[in-house]
């Protein structure tokens, strides 16, 4: 970019340019791990004090930490890793962020441009490898392109449906000197071809409102898009739902978009959602999908998904509409903006609920009366549901954030923790990445140093990124982890029990560490309990002990997650499980469906 003599900028090298651009963009923290190709950038980081660097112990941890940071703040998470293995170790986190629409910018080192393609030391085709698992990626060829690309990357990561963007940085480019002029690019610069639509089509909103106002058996179904739209979208949604008096369910990613304590909230829907939420989705006449994408974990068998309903879908990504489920009215736009437009068209309340809506609520209350999450805590063994219920009760008055790993504990956490506001719940929904929760909690704690951050874990998942305990110690991040320890890969075991004739192939966790000693070996603390009466004290100890803490809670090894829509079943064919007197049917043949 040519600049005339009177407004020419400074001559600085690419690495300094990167750091300056990030500071200009308001970046406060980078999660990363150094290596040969990024040494010049680390040198530039060393020479400044605007941006904090959190050193992780494995690049995957950096990505998940940045995801936790982004999801809990609504800001772009930033990662810096080296070439080759640094980049390939980042792939899982990028894929996770793409699936869950988390805004990230990941800077990867690359070998010098003249060596690209020569199988140089620590060379990988990073743009090739990350192309399908990023929203967009760049290979920077000259130092002149650097400031524009960095600003564009932040715009792309956060605009429209958010996602991860990789910037691959050859070492010669970050060492080359170039002209840098602060303020050349702003957040309004945008991109020459990428301009996602945010304002909805008015006629579509009118058509949707016609259906919504006249619905007899309506249901709101809101997802992670509401969280990406920002806290104002959750507030607008809450007003909309309350003013209509309609029931609402949330997806796994959408928990917290509507206050869970409210009577109109039916809980999470989907494979391990509540009976009332799934039945209401099946029997409704008007479904209002807001920032949700009809994931297979939500729909069950597609051909039987809510066959009698008119469906309205609001999404910022046109490719999310009519992908799995054909809808009657689609509205492309920012979901918060759309809800505002809908609210403006909502007629004033005309004296209470209609008779049809009264009937609908009576039906929903009957489903709710099944008390599908009921469990029995008896005897000497801790039920996982009980541990989570106590965790919720003992933390609900606090400023608390929760992350999870992936598996049974994740589903129980989604069922038993209740969220009153968005950005408090971080979980790997789309990709289902075991090992997500521990580093994600670290990122949340970086963003909210004074808050209580708790990772609900399974022992198998926790083993996947346990190394980040060392990062937490280094950076004084007092993340609390509660392990629901059943010595199995619980969800794998559950499916083997139900669908593979009880043949527990490789799902038992032999040779587990003593997690308390493990914590202590890093300089942290831990506690191990196995009796129900110890649960409350253990949780209190965990919260009150300064620094990172691991509570290893030995739970019932054979407990399964219910309710459940078995793989391949329709969403109204829920199994409520043994606590409701249903036998646990064991099928001999493995299900083809996932």
């Amino acid at each position: 970019m040519a600049t005339s003599a009177d407004n020419s900028g400074e001559n600085i090298n690419g690495s300094e340019m990167i750091v300056r651009c990030l500071a200009e963009l308001g970046v406060e923290v980078i999660f990363g791990y150094p290596g040969g190709a990024v040494l010049p950038i680390y040198d530039a980081i060393f020479k400044q004090n605007k941006i904090r660097h959190i050193l992780v112990r494995h690049e995957q941890g950096a990505l998940h930490a940045a995801e936790g940071y982004a999801r809990s703040t609504g800001r772009v998470g930033v990662v810096l890793v080296t070439s080759g293995p640094g980049a390939t170790n980042s792939v899982t986190g990028l894929a996770d962020a793409l699936m869950d629409s988390i805004p990230l910018v990941c800077l990867t080192g690359q070998v010098p441009t003249h060596m690209i393609g020569n199988d140089a030391f620590q060379e990988a085709d990073t743009v090739g490898i990350t192309r399908p698992c990023t929203k967009h990626n760049y290979l920077v060829k000259t130092v002149e392109d650097l400031p524009r690309i960095i600003h564009e990357a932040f715009y792309i990561a956060s605009a429209g449906r958010p996602g991860p963007v990789v910037i691959d940085l050859p070492k010669d480019v970050v060492m080359a000197e170039g002209d840098y002029q602060e303020g050349t690019y702003t957040s309004e610069t945008g991109h020459r071809s990428y301009r996602p639509r945010t304002e909805p089509d008015n006629a579509a909103v009118d058509a949707a409102m016609e259906l919504i106002v006249n619905a007899e058996r309506p249901i709101f179904y809101s997802g992670g898009g509401i969280i990406n739209s920002g806290p104002a979208a959750s507030e607008a949604l809450t007003r909309f739902v309350r003013e209509t008096g309609y029931p609402i369910t949330n997806t796994l990613m959408g928990l917290g978009t509507y206050p869970a304590s409210d009577a109109q909230f039916l809980g999470m829907l989907g494979m391990h959602g509540t009976y009332e939420a799934n039945m209401a989705m099946a029997e409704c006449d008007v479904m209002i999908a807001l920032g949700a994408r009809f994931d297979d974990r939500v729909t069950g068998r597609l051909s039987d998904f809510s066959k009698g309903s008119k469906k309205i879908q609001v999404d910022i990504d046109p490719s999310s509409v009519n992908k799995n489920v054909p809808v009657d009215i689609s509205i492309i736009g920012d979901v918060g903006t759309v809800i505002d437009a809908m609210l403006a068209k909502l007629p004033n309340k005309s004296g209470g609920k209609s008779a049809a809506l009264e009937d609908w609520w009576r039906q929903i209350e009957a489903w709710r009366g099944r008390d599908c999450l009921r469990f029995k805590q008896h005897g000497d063994i801790i039920k996982p549901q009980y541990a989570l219920q106590r965790l919720y009760e003992l933390t609900k008055e606090r400023d608390v954030y929760f992350t999870t790993e992936v598996g049974q504990h994740q589903m129980w956490a989604a069922q038993f923790l209740k969220f009153e506001e968005p950005n408090r719940w971080m979980t790997s929904g789309g990709l289902g990445t075991m090992g997500y929760g521990f580093p994600a909690a670290m990122g949340v704690q970086v963003a909210h140093p004074e808050s209580l951050v708790i990772n609900v874990a399974g022992e198998a998942s926790l083993m996947m990124n346990i190394q980040e305990l060392s990062s937490m110690m280094q950076h004084r991040l007092p993340v609390k982890t509660i392990i629901l320890n059943n010595e199995y890969m619980g969800m794998v075991r559950q499916w083997q029990e139900l669908f593979h004739g009880g043949r527990y192939s490789e799902s038992y966790m032999d040779s587990l560490p003593d997690f308390v000693k493990l914590a202590e070996s890093f300089g942290a603390n831990g506690i191990k309990i196995s009796k129900p009466e110890e649960v409350d004290d253990a949780i209190r100890t965990m919260i009150e002990t300064p620094g990172p803490f691991i509570a290893d809670v030995l739970i019932d090894k054979t407990e399964n997650v219910y309710p459940m829509i078995p793989g391949g079943a329709a969403h109204y064919e829920m199994k409520l499980g043994p606590d409701h007197g249903e036998l646990e049917e064991k099928a001999e043949d493995g299900m083809v469906l996932v």
Binding site: V127, G128, R131, P132, K135, H136, N137, L139, I156, G160, R161, H191, R192, S193, Y194, P196, D317, P318, S319, V321, N322, K323, P326
Partner: protein, 168 residues
């Protein structure tokens, strides 16, 4: 699944930058969509834009999904479904080698004349024909050449443009 399979010709204007074709092809292979034909070349050098013409087939919902997925690729400026936008012209160029002598050789030349194919290379026992036309015409010509000593075919794939004043 008894949905009808539709064939659509789609033109995509993209930034002429490295990797853009890989993004489009990766999208099709990654999501299991069909590509019957794909052509790409720079069309506006000033604006650094390339035009990708692709022919794909699938049920209506998949075609719509393909267009939405293409449109959300960052370097994509515009996606136009010519099949939907109205009458359009589709053309392909093919080079066809026929080896033979005697009556078969003479017959290939006669047919080439009917199809307005040109001879662009000739030796005593071979011809290379060049022809342009709709894919169907190219197919028909190739079929007729098969018994006459067809040995090799090279085709460009479809390029397409809307008829009349309208542009994408």
């Amino acid at each position: 699944m008894t949905e009808t399979i539709e064939r659509h010709t789609i033109s995509v204007l993209v930034d002429n930058e490295p990797g853009v074709l890989a993004r489009v092809i990766g999208l099709f292979s990654g999501r299991g969509y069909n590509i019957e034909s794909l052509t790409v070349a720079e069309v506006e050098s000033g604006a650094a834009l390339s035009r990708i013409n692709l022919v794909t087939s699938g049920p209506r919902m998949i075609i719509e999904q393909i267009k939405a997925q293409l449109d959300r690729l960052v370097p994509v400026h515009q996606v136009s479904d010519l099949t939907e936008e109205g009458p359009h012209i589709e053309r392909e160029l093919a080079l066809i080698k026929v080896v033979g002598s005697g009556e078969a050789r003479a017959e290939s030349l006669r047919i080439a004349d009917i199809f307005r194919a040109h001879v662009v290379d000739s030796e005593s026992d071979s011809f290379v024909f060049e022809m342009t036309g709709k894919p169907g015409k190219v197919n028909a010509f190739i079929r007729l050449m098969e018994p006459l000593g067809l040995t090799e075919v090279s085709r460009t794939g479809v390029v397409a443009l809307l008829r009349g004043k309208k542009s994408i």
